[in-house]
Symmetry: C2
Protein backbone atom coordinates (compact mmCIF):
# COMPACT_ATOMS: atom_id res chain seq x y z
CA UNK A 1 0.00 0.00 0.00
CA UNK A 2 1.49 3.34 -1.00
CA UNK A 3 0.47 6.42 0.91
CA UNK A 4 1.11 9.89 -0.50
CA UNK A 5 2.86 12.64 1.41
CA UNK A 6 -0.50 14.27 2.18
CA UNK A 7 -2.09 11.01 3.29
CA UNK A 8 0.87 10.34 5.61
CA UNK A 9 0.78 13.88 7.03
CA UNK A 10 -2.97 13.55 7.61
CA UNK A 11 -2.34 10.26 9.36
CA UNK A 12 0.28 11.55 11.82
CA UNK A 13 -1.25 14.95 12.51
CA UNK A 14 -3.74 13.83 15.19
CA UNK A 15 -0.91 12.06 17.03
CA UNK A 16 1.29 15.15 17.32
CA UNK A 17 1.16 18.50 19.07
CA UNK A 18 1.26 21.44 16.67
CA UNK A 19 4.94 22.24 17.35
CA UNK A 20 5.88 18.57 16.88
CA UNK A 21 3.91 18.44 13.63
CA UNK A 22 5.78 21.49 12.35
CA UNK A 23 9.08 19.87 13.36
CA UNK A 24 8.00 16.79 11.40
CA UNK A 25 7.38 18.82 8.25
CA UNK A 26 10.81 20.49 8.58
CA UNK A 27 12.52 17.11 9.12
CA UNK A 28 10.74 15.78 6.04
CA UNK A 29 11.82 18.67 3.83
CA UNK A 30 15.39 18.35 5.11
CA UNK A 31 15.44 14.58 4.64
CA UNK A 32 14.16 14.87 1.07
CA UNK A 33 16.94 17.35 0.28
CA UNK A 34 19.56 15.08 1.86
CA UNK A 35 18.17 12.02 0.05
CA UNK A 36 18.43 13.79 -3.31
CA UNK A 37 21.93 15.02 -2.50
CA UNK A 38 23.29 11.66 -1.32
CA UNK A 39 21.34 9.32 -3.58
CA UNK A 40 19.05 7.76 -0.98
CA UNK A 41 15.50 6.65 -1.84
CA UNK A 42 13.58 9.94 -1.75
CA UNK A 43 10.16 8.41 -1.23
CA UNK A 44 11.36 6.23 1.65
CA UNK A 45 13.12 9.21 3.21
CA UNK A 46 9.89 11.19 2.99
CA UNK A 47 7.77 8.39 4.46
CA UNK A 48 10.18 7.64 7.31
CA UNK A 49 10.54 11.32 8.19
CA UNK A 50 6.81 12.01 8.28
CA UNK A 51 6.37 9.03 10.58
CA UNK A 52 9.56 9.29 12.69
CA UNK A 53 7.93 10.94 15.72
CA UNK A 54 4.60 9.12 15.46
CA UNK A 55 4.99 7.70 18.99
CA UNK A 56 6.53 10.83 20.55
CA UNK A 57 3.50 11.68 22.69
CA UNK A 58 2.39 8.18 23.60
CA UNK A 59 2.50 7.30 27.28
CA UNK A 60 5.55 5.63 28.76
CA UNK A 61 3.37 2.64 29.58
CA UNK A 62 2.29 2.21 25.97
CA UNK A 63 5.85 2.57 24.67
CA UNK A 64 7.08 0.10 27.29
CA UNK A 65 4.36 -2.35 26.30
CA UNK A 66 5.44 -2.40 22.66
CA UNK A 67 9.16 -2.64 23.48
CA UNK A 68 8.84 -5.39 26.05
CA UNK A 69 6.59 -7.49 23.80
CA UNK A 70 8.89 -7.60 20.78
CA UNK A 71 12.11 -9.54 20.98
CA UNK A 72 13.63 -7.52 18.13
CA UNK A 73 14.11 -4.56 20.48
CA UNK A 74 16.79 -5.11 23.15
CA UNK A 75 14.99 -4.93 26.47
CA UNK A 76 17.84 -3.01 28.12
CA UNK A 77 16.45 0.00 26.22
CA UNK A 78 13.95 0.28 29.07
CA UNK A 79 16.84 0.87 31.49
CA UNK A 80 17.71 4.04 29.58
CA UNK A 81 16.00 7.42 29.25
CA UNK A 82 12.41 7.20 28.00
CA UNK A 83 13.27 9.82 25.37
CA UNK A 84 14.88 6.90 23.52
CA UNK A 85 11.76 4.73 23.49
CA UNK A 86 9.54 6.45 20.91
CA UNK A 87 11.69 5.53 17.90
CA UNK A 88 11.76 1.74 18.34
CA UNK A 89 8.23 1.65 19.78
CA UNK A 90 6.93 3.86 16.96
CA UNK A 91 8.39 1.53 14.34
CA UNK A 92 6.60 -1.41 15.97
CA UNK A 93 3.32 0.47 16.23
CA UNK A 94 3.45 1.62 12.61
CA UNK A 95 4.32 -1.86 11.41
CA UNK A 96 1.09 -3.02 13.02
CA UNK A 97 -1.29 -0.10 12.69
CA UNK A 98 -0.31 1.38 9.37
CA UNK A 99 1.00 -1.86 7.88
CA UNK A 100 4.33 -0.23 7.13
CA UNK A 101 6.39 -3.31 6.32
CA UNK A 102 9.44 -1.87 4.59
CA UNK A 103 12.37 -2.79 6.87
CA UNK A 104 14.44 0.18 5.66
CA UNK A 105 11.73 2.67 6.62
CA UNK A 106 11.11 0.95 9.95
CA UNK A 107 14.83 0.93 10.71
CA UNK A 108 15.18 4.66 10.00
CA UNK A 109 12.24 5.39 12.31
CA UNK A 110 13.53 3.05 15.03
CA UNK A 111 17.07 4.46 15.23
CA UNK A 112 16.41 8.14 14.58
CA UNK A 113 17.20 9.21 18.16
CA UNK A 114 19.99 6.89 19.28
CA UNK A 115 21.66 5.88 16.05
CA UNK A 116 22.89 2.30 15.79
CA UNK A 117 25.91 0.23 14.86
CA UNK A 118 25.68 -0.01 11.08
CA UNK A 119 23.39 2.72 9.86
CA UNK A 120 22.13 2.51 6.28
CA UNK A 121 22.12 5.50 3.96
CA UNK A 122 18.42 6.01 4.72
CA UNK A 123 19.02 5.72 8.50
CA UNK A 124 21.68 8.43 8.26
CA UNK A 125 19.49 10.74 6.16
CA UNK A 126 16.59 10.64 8.64
CA UNK A 127 18.87 10.78 11.69
CA UNK A 128 20.72 13.80 10.35
CA UNK A 129 17.55 15.57 9.11
CA UNK A 130 16.11 15.25 12.62
CA UNK A 131 19.28 16.82 14.02
CA UNK A 132 19.78 19.72 11.59
CA UNK A 133 16.23 20.71 10.56
CA UNK A 134 16.06 24.53 10.53
CA UNK A 135 14.19 24.76 13.83
CA UNK A 136 17.02 23.10 15.78
CA UNK A 137 19.23 25.25 17.91
CA UNK A 138 21.60 22.82 19.66
CA UNK A 139 25.12 23.87 20.51
CA UNK A 140 27.22 22.83 17.52
CA UNK A 141 24.31 22.36 15.11
CA UNK A 142 25.66 24.96 12.68
CA UNK A 143 28.91 23.00 12.29
CA UNK A 144 26.89 19.87 11.53
CA UNK A 145 24.77 21.77 8.97
CA UNK A 146 27.98 22.83 7.22
CA UNK A 147 29.31 19.25 7.22
CA UNK A 148 25.98 17.99 5.86
CA UNK A 149 26.58 19.99 2.68
CA UNK A 150 29.53 17.83 1.70
CA UNK A 151 29.88 14.73 3.89
CA UNK A 152 26.94 12.75 5.26
CA UNK A 153 29.07 10.42 7.42
CA UNK A 154 31.10 13.21 8.95
CA UNK A 155 27.94 15.20 9.67
CA UNK A 156 26.38 12.18 11.43
CA UNK A 157 29.62 11.59 13.32
CA UNK A 158 29.78 15.18 14.54
CA UNK A 159 26.14 15.11 15.63
CA UNK A 160 26.87 11.95 17.64
CA UNK A 161 29.93 13.60 19.21
CA UNK A 162 27.79 16.62 20.15
CA UNK A 163 25.16 14.33 21.66
CA UNK A 164 27.72 12.37 23.68
CA UNK A 165 29.25 15.62 24.95
CA UNK A 166 25.83 16.98 25.90
CA UNK A 167 24.91 13.78 27.75
CA UNK A 168 28.24 13.37 29.56
CA UNK A 169 28.42 17.06 30.50
CA UNK A 170 25.02 16.61 32.12
CA UNK A 171 25.93 13.23 33.65
CA UNK A 172 23.17 11.50 31.75
CA UNK A 173 23.46 7.91 30.56
CA UNK A 174 24.61 7.24 27.00
CA UNK A 175 22.73 4.44 25.24
CA UNK A 176 25.24 1.88 23.92
CA UNK A 177 23.84 2.12 20.37
CA UNK A 178 24.87 5.77 20.29
CA UNK A 179 28.47 4.76 20.95
CA UNK A 180 28.10 1.88 18.48
CA UNK A 181 26.94 4.36 15.83
CA UNK A 182 29.84 6.66 16.68
CA UNK A 183 32.44 3.86 16.64
CA UNK A 184 31.15 2.56 13.30
CA UNK A 185 31.58 6.00 11.72
CA UNK A 186 35.03 6.75 13.13
Amino acid sequence: MHLSRDQLLDFVRPHLKQSRYEHTVRVTDTAVELAIQYGADVQKAETASILHDFAKHKSKEELKHWISNDERVPNDLLDYHHELWHGPAGALMLENELEIKDPEILSAIACHTSGKKNMSLLDKVVFLADYIEPGRNFEGVEEVRELAKSDLDNACLQSLVNTVHFLTNNKRTVYPDTINAYNALV
Copy 2:
Protein backbone atom coordinates in the same frame (compact mmCIF):
# COMPACT_ATOMS: atom_id res chain seq x y z
CA MET B 1 51.47 -17.36 47.96
CA HIS B 2 51.94 -13.86 49.34
CA LEU B 3 54.51 -11.62 47.73
CA SER B 4 55.76 -8.51 49.52
CA ARG B 5 55.78 -5.06 47.94
CA ASP B 6 59.52 -5.37 47.28
CA GLN B 7 59.18 -8.83 45.78
CA LEU B 8 56.41 -7.61 43.47
CA LEU B 9 58.37 -4.53 42.43
CA ASP B 10 61.42 -6.71 41.73
CA PHE B 11 59.20 -8.97 39.65
CA VAL B 12 57.73 -6.24 37.41
CA ARG B 13 60.87 -4.11 37.07
CA PRO B 14 62.47 -6.08 34.21
CA HIS B 15 59.19 -5.89 32.25
CA LEU B 16 58.94 -2.08 32.37
CA LYS B 17 60.87 0.86 30.98
CA GLN B 18 62.26 3.14 33.71
CA SER B 19 59.55 5.81 33.19
CA ARG B 20 56.81 3.17 33.30
CA TYR B 21 58.33 1.67 36.46
CA GLU B 22 58.31 5.09 38.11
CA HIS B 23 54.67 5.57 37.03
CA THR B 24 53.89 2.18 38.61
CA VAL B 25 55.40 3.23 41.95
CA ARG B 26 53.38 6.47 41.89
CA VAL B 27 50.17 4.58 41.04
CA THR B 28 50.88 2.19 43.90
CA ASP B 29 51.42 4.97 46.45
CA THR B 30 48.25 6.72 45.24
CA ALA B 31 46.21 3.50 45.30
CA VAL B 32 47.33 2.68 48.85
CA GLU B 33 46.26 6.16 49.97
CA LEU B 34 42.88 5.79 48.25
CA ALA B 35 42.40 2.29 49.67
CA ILE B 36 43.00 3.56 53.20
CA GLN B 37 40.70 6.53 52.63
CA TYR B 38 37.81 4.53 51.13
CA GLY B 39 38.19 1.28 53.06
CA ALA B 40 39.40 -0.97 50.25
CA ASP B 41 41.80 -3.86 50.90
CA VAL B 42 45.15 -2.06 51.10
CA GLN B 43 47.26 -5.10 50.33
CA LYS B 44 45.21 -6.01 47.27
CA ALA B 45 45.30 -2.40 46.08
CA GLU B 46 49.08 -2.44 46.42
CA THR B 47 49.48 -5.76 44.60
CA ALA B 48 47.12 -4.84 41.75
CA SER B 49 48.77 -1.44 41.29
CA ILE B 50 52.30 -2.80 41.17
CA LEU B 51 51.20 -5.30 38.55
CA HIS B 52 48.70 -3.20 36.59
CA ASP B 53 51.04 -2.33 33.69
CA PHE B 54 52.90 -5.65 33.65
CA ALA B 55 51.95 -6.26 30.02
CA LYS B 56 52.34 -2.65 28.84
CA HIS B 57 55.42 -3.28 26.70
CA LYS B 58 54.55 -6.74 25.40
CA SER B 59 54.12 -7.03 21.64
CA LYS B 60 50.69 -6.68 20.10
CA GLU B 61 51.01 -10.26 18.89
CA GLU B 62 51.61 -11.57 22.40
CA LEU B 63 48.71 -9.55 23.84
CA LYS B 64 46.45 -10.70 21.02
CA HIS B 65 47.45 -14.32 21.64
CA TRP B 66 46.39 -14.16 25.29
CA ILE B 67 43.13 -12.33 24.57
CA SER B 68 42.03 -14.55 21.71
CA ASN B 69 42.77 -17.74 23.65
CA ASP B 70 40.66 -16.95 26.70
CA GLU B 71 36.91 -16.88 26.38
CA ARG B 72 36.59 -14.68 29.48
CA VAL B 73 37.81 -11.68 27.47
CA PRO B 74 35.33 -10.47 24.83
CA ASN B 75 37.06 -10.90 21.49
CA ASP B 76 35.71 -7.61 20.15
CA LEU B 77 38.39 -5.99 22.32
CA LEU B 78 40.76 -6.76 19.45
CA ASP B 79 38.70 -4.48 17.18
CA TYR B 80 39.54 -1.56 19.46
CA HIS B 81 42.75 0.36 20.09
CA HIS B 82 45.66 -1.85 21.22
CA GLU B 83 46.22 0.56 24.12
CA LEU B 84 43.26 -1.28 25.71
CA TRP B 85 44.78 -4.74 25.41
CA HIS B 86 47.50 -4.72 28.10
CA GLY B 87 45.07 -4.71 31.05
CA PRO B 88 43.04 -7.82 30.21
CA ALA B 89 46.06 -9.60 28.67
CA GLY B 90 48.22 -8.69 31.66
CA ALA B 91 45.68 -10.19 34.05
CA LEU B 92 45.71 -13.44 32.09
CA MET B 93 49.51 -13.55 31.93
CA LEU B 94 49.88 -12.88 35.66
CA GLU B 95 47.27 -15.49 36.49
CA ASN B 96 49.45 -17.99 34.67
CA GLU B 97 52.99 -16.83 35.27
CA LEU B 98 52.82 -15.41 38.76
CA GLU B 99 49.96 -17.61 39.91
CA ILE B 100 47.96 -14.56 40.95
CA LYS B 101 44.58 -16.18 41.47
CA ASP B 102 42.69 -13.53 43.43
CA PRO B 103 39.79 -12.53 41.13
CA GLU B 104 39.55 -9.06 42.70
CA ILE B 105 43.18 -8.28 41.97
CA LEU B 106 42.92 -9.71 38.45
CA SER B 107 39.77 -7.69 37.79
CA ALA B 108 41.40 -4.44 38.90
CA ILE B 109 44.36 -5.12 36.60
CA ALA B 110 42.13 -6.13 33.70
CA CYS B 111 39.86 -3.07 33.75
CA HIS B 112 42.33 -0.37 34.77
CA THR B 113 42.34 1.33 31.34
CA SER B 114 38.78 0.96 30.06
CA GLY B 115 36.72 0.62 33.21
CA LYS B 116 33.80 -1.80 33.11
CA LYS B 117 30.12 -2.05 33.93
CA ASN B 118 30.07 -2.76 37.63
CA MET B 119 33.41 -1.79 39.07
CA SER B 120 34.26 -3.01 42.56
CA LEU B 121 35.76 -0.73 45.19
CA LEU B 122 39.19 -2.16 44.38
CA ASP B 123 38.65 -1.70 40.61
CA LYS B 124 37.81 1.95 41.21
CA VAL B 125 40.80 2.55 43.49
CA VAL B 126 43.29 1.20 40.94
CA PHE B 127 41.52 2.84 37.98
CA LEU B 128 41.50 6.21 39.69
CA ALA B 129 45.07 5.92 41.02
CA ASP B 130 46.24 5.27 37.46
CA TYR B 131 44.42 8.40 36.33
CA ILE B 132 45.44 10.85 39.07
CA GLU B 133 48.93 9.72 40.11
CA PRO B 134 51.09 12.85 40.55
CA GLY B 135 52.90 12.41 37.23
CA ARG B 136 49.68 12.72 35.20
CA ASN B 137 49.01 15.93 33.37
CA PHE B 138 45.77 15.30 31.42
CA GLU B 139 43.35 18.13 30.80
CA GLY B 140 40.92 18.03 33.71
CA VAL B 141 43.07 15.84 35.99
CA GLU B 142 43.21 18.50 38.71
CA GLU B 143 39.41 18.50 38.98
CA VAL B 144 39.46 14.70 39.34
CA ARG B 145 42.18 14.94 42.03
CA GLU B 146 39.95 17.33 43.96
CA LEU B 147 36.93 15.01 43.64
CA ALA B 148 39.07 12.05 44.75
CA LYS B 149 39.51 13.71 48.14
CA SER B 150 35.84 13.33 48.97
CA ASP B 151 33.99 11.13 46.47
CA LEU B 152 35.49 8.06 44.80
CA ASP B 153 32.53 7.44 42.46
CA ASN B 154 32.32 11.01 41.30
CA ALA B 155 36.06 11.11 40.70
CA CYS B 156 35.87 7.93 38.60
CA LEU B 157 32.87 9.33 36.76
CA GLN B 158 34.65 12.58 35.92
CA SER B 159 37.75 10.72 34.74
CA LEU B 160 35.52 8.66 32.42
CA VAL B 161 33.84 11.82 31.12
CA ASN B 162 37.26 13.34 30.44
CA THR B 163 38.36 10.19 28.63
CA VAL B 164 35.20 10.09 26.49
CA HIS B 165 35.65 13.77 25.62
CA PHE B 166 39.29 13.23 24.71
CA LEU B 167 38.46 10.24 22.50
CA THR B 168 35.46 11.83 20.76
CA ASN B 169 37.27 15.14 20.22
CA ASN B 170 39.97 13.15 18.46
CA LYS B 171 37.48 10.92 16.60
CA ARG B 172 38.87 7.82 18.25
CA THR B 173 36.71 4.81 19.04
CA VAL B 174 35.26 4.47 22.55
CA TYR B 175 35.37 0.94 23.94
CA PRO B 176 31.83 -0.05 25.06
CA ASP B 177 33.04 -0.97 28.57
CA THR B 178 34.08 2.64 29.07
CA ILE B 179 30.50 3.76 28.42
CA ASN B 180 29.23 0.87 30.54
CA ALA B 181 31.44 2.07 33.40
CA TYR B 182 30.20 5.64 32.90
CA ASN B 183 26.51 4.62 32.73
CA ALA B 184 26.83 2.48 35.87
CA LEU B 185 28.22 5.46 37.81
CA VAL B 186 25.70 8.04 36.59
